[in-house]
């Protein structure tokens, strides 16, 4: 017998199919920028977002007549620098988006995996909770809570976090059901793995690419909901700069100064679009890697 040489250790190069997708890259760019802006807001903002100057109210942005170079995006109805408020508003939006997803993800994924894995009455209980949650009108409850407790960033995050877990639970439950009867789960049990180990290290990594997509959807939804609540005056309390609040405050001036409503509106649209594009891309990437 003559041995044939084995190819030497060569790790498969980390493929990035996302590079092929301009859309994913664009999404990543938008979300990345938003994260950086949110973290370094104090360094990036040209002015104090709370400083009012009633002499310089409703100055138009730099590409319009009558603009001032000190205020690139102009000022609002109280003379606050619009760019600074937009930058700090990113912080509020991202904070709400991330923390809401973390809270609702923890609740939803825990419930979903438990129900999907154990089945039986555990699953019945989880399904009952999901049904209950789905029959609660989200906006109305959020409004009621804010009206009762008063509005603050924490209240908005908690309310949304405690309400938005249903999709996590549904997706985690169905994907867990697909995974739980696979042979490697049985093999792990036969190798002496504990229940916790099986749920966290065998099941979770194999459903996480589905959950990432849900997370991006929920994050976009949370950001939009916060904007809606703030618009209704029941979200983030003024003078905190939130995009929804900026839109709400701008609506009285939109006929003569349309940019005050357009700028935060566009920011909101672009961020939500970016998150969704990134989510789609991540699904393709993780999905192909695990199921190839």
């Amino acid at each position: 017998m003559i041995p044939i040489p084995v190819p030497t250790a060569r790790r498969e190069a980390w493929r990035l199919p996302a590079l092929r997708h301009v859309a994913t890259l664009l999404g990543a760019l938008i979300v990345g920028t938003a994260v950086v802006v949110a973290i370094f807001a104090p360094l990036l903002a040209p002015h104090d977002p709370f400083a009012q100057n009633l002499d310089l109210r409703l100055i138009p942005p730099v590409w319009m007549d009558g603009s001032q170079p000190a205020h690139l995006l102009g000022t609002d109805q109280l003379g606050r620098d619009y760019l600074a408020r937009l930058i700090y508003g990113t912080r509020v939006s991202m904070l709400i988006g991330v923390l809401t997803v973390v809270t609702s993800g923890l609740i939803g994924i825990t419930l979903g995996i438990l129900g999907g894995f154990y089945g039986g009455w555990t699953d019945d209980a989880v399904m009952f909770l999901i049904t209950c949650r789905l029959s609660i009108p989200l906006i109305l409850v959020a409004l009621t809570v804010v009206a009762l407790v008063g509005s603050s960033l924490t209240v908005v995050i908690l309310t949304l976090g405690l309400l938005l877990w249903d999709r996590f639970a549904v997706v985690a439950r169905t994907t867990t059901m697909q995974v739980r009867n696979l042979d490697y789960i049985a093999a792990a049990r036969a190798a002496g793995a504990s229940r916790a180990h099986i749920l966290l290290r065998e099941v979770l990594p194999n459903i996480v690419h589905h959950l990432v997509v849900v997370a991006t959807l929920e994050m976009a939804l949370a950001i939009l909901l916060e904007a809606a609540l703030s618009f209704l005056g029941l979200g983030v309390p003024p003078p905190l700069p939130s995009w929804g609040l900026m839109i709400a405050e701008a609506k009285e001036y939109m006929f003569f100064s349309p940019w005050v409503i357009m700028i935060p509106g566009i920011a909101l649209f672009v961020l939500v679009l970016g998150i969704n594009l990134l989510g789609d891309g991540l699904r393709d990437m993780l999905g192909t890697r695990l199921e190839r």
Partner: protein, 330 residues
């Protein structure tokens, strides 16, 4: 906990597994596996082979109930063991290999991490030591370039390689008992032969007690010391391999043997032996021979309790027919 020398590694007595009131998958199974011995369980699909194996591990699906006089492992009765103590034995002293190598490895982790984990869990070892042991074992199960394989994911390996990895994983903690549930059924013949030879070699080297489940009498002939032929949840015939192949005493065993074409002897056009029908589902409380609806020698008295007959030596079978009936029939 040192067992007496002549104590078998595994001893099952009168095991019964029922799925609710509708069916009883295992009906009074008894067998023993000694150290260094290979005990084969043969039979068609649905005979209760896998269920028996899983009930030793206490890994039956929900809704299945097991009962037995005892299931002793190294003198310790597994029936009374808590789930925690049982989990401590699984993968450590008792290891199991499954039929489907393609899906038995978790796609989310590298081979190395899955192998190392078993060792870390049971031996409280560090990652480095566990990976060293994993590399050593991969080499023993005949995998070249183990260092490279450790960093690969399951989808990068072929079926034969994955089954070798599964075997290496089962051996990580030097088990006393290895239960292999159709380990080569999903593989093609050449790979099958390699895996079996490797398994046999490892068994001799490590002194493993091997409980091998298969439906392939060819595998039995080359691997087994003892055989238990299962039908409808019962051992219908048991004995050493030479006894069994020389004089199959149960009509079912004869039928199984007749299903194998022997190259050179089987002629084209001559019908291959087959057993008509399928394995029935047996409800609890069933009396008589489970094979009577497919048996060419069935008589009305087959619906009465069936005696266990001694065919000499360790050879025994469960049938109304007297020893030596084969000659009389021929």
């Amino acid at each position: 906990m040192t067992a007496p020398v002549d104590e078998p590694v595994l001893s099952i007595a009168n095991l019964r597994v029922a799925f609710g009131r509708r069916s009883e998958a295992v009906r009074g199974l008894s067998l023993t596996v000694a150290r260094g011995e290979t005990h084969c369980m043969v039979g068609e699909s649905g005979c209760g082979k896998s269920v028996s194996a899983l009930s030793v591990m206490n890994l039956l699906v929900r809704g299945a109930t097991r009962s037995a006089d005892h299931i002793r492992f190294q003198g310790q009765d597994l029936l009374g063991l808590s789930e925690r103590d049982m989990a401590r034995l699984r993968g450590d002293k008792i290891a199991m290999i499954f039929q489907e190598p393609m899906t038995s490895l978790n796609p989310a982790y590298t081979i190395g991490s899955q192998l190392a984990e078993v060792f870390e869990r049971h031996r409280r070892s560090g990652r480095r030591r566990a990976l060293d042991r994993a590399a050593g074992l991969l080499e023993r199960v005949g995998i070249t370039a183990p260092g490279m394989r450790l960093g690969q994911y399951p989808h990068q390996l072929s079926g034969g390689l994955r089954q070798r990895v599964m075997i290496a994983m089962a051996l990580m903690c030097e088990p006393e008992l290895l239960i292999a549930d159709e380990p080569t059924t999903a593989l093609d013949v050449t790979v099958q032969a390699q895996i079996l030879r490797m398994l046999q070699k490892l068994q001799h080297e490590l002194g493993l007690a091997l409980l091998l489940i298969t439906h392939d009498l060819g595998v039995v002939a080359r691997m087994a010391d003892r055989v238990s032929v299962m039908y409808a949840g019962q051992v219908v015939e048991s004995g050493t391999v030479p006894e069994m192949f020389a004089a199959p005493a149960h009509p079912y065993t004869q039928g199984l043997l007749a299903c194998i074409p022997v190259p050179g002897t089987a002629r084209t056009g001559e019908p291959l032996g087959s057993i008509p029908g399928v394995v029935p589902r047996i409800p609890p409380g069933f009396i008589g021979c489970g094979f009577r609806d497919r048996c060419a020698f069935a008589m009305p008295e087959c619906a009465e309790p069936v005696p266990l007959r001694d065919a000499g030596g360790d050879h025994a079978y469960l049938c109304r027919l007297q020893p030596g009936w084969q000659q009389a029939a021929a």
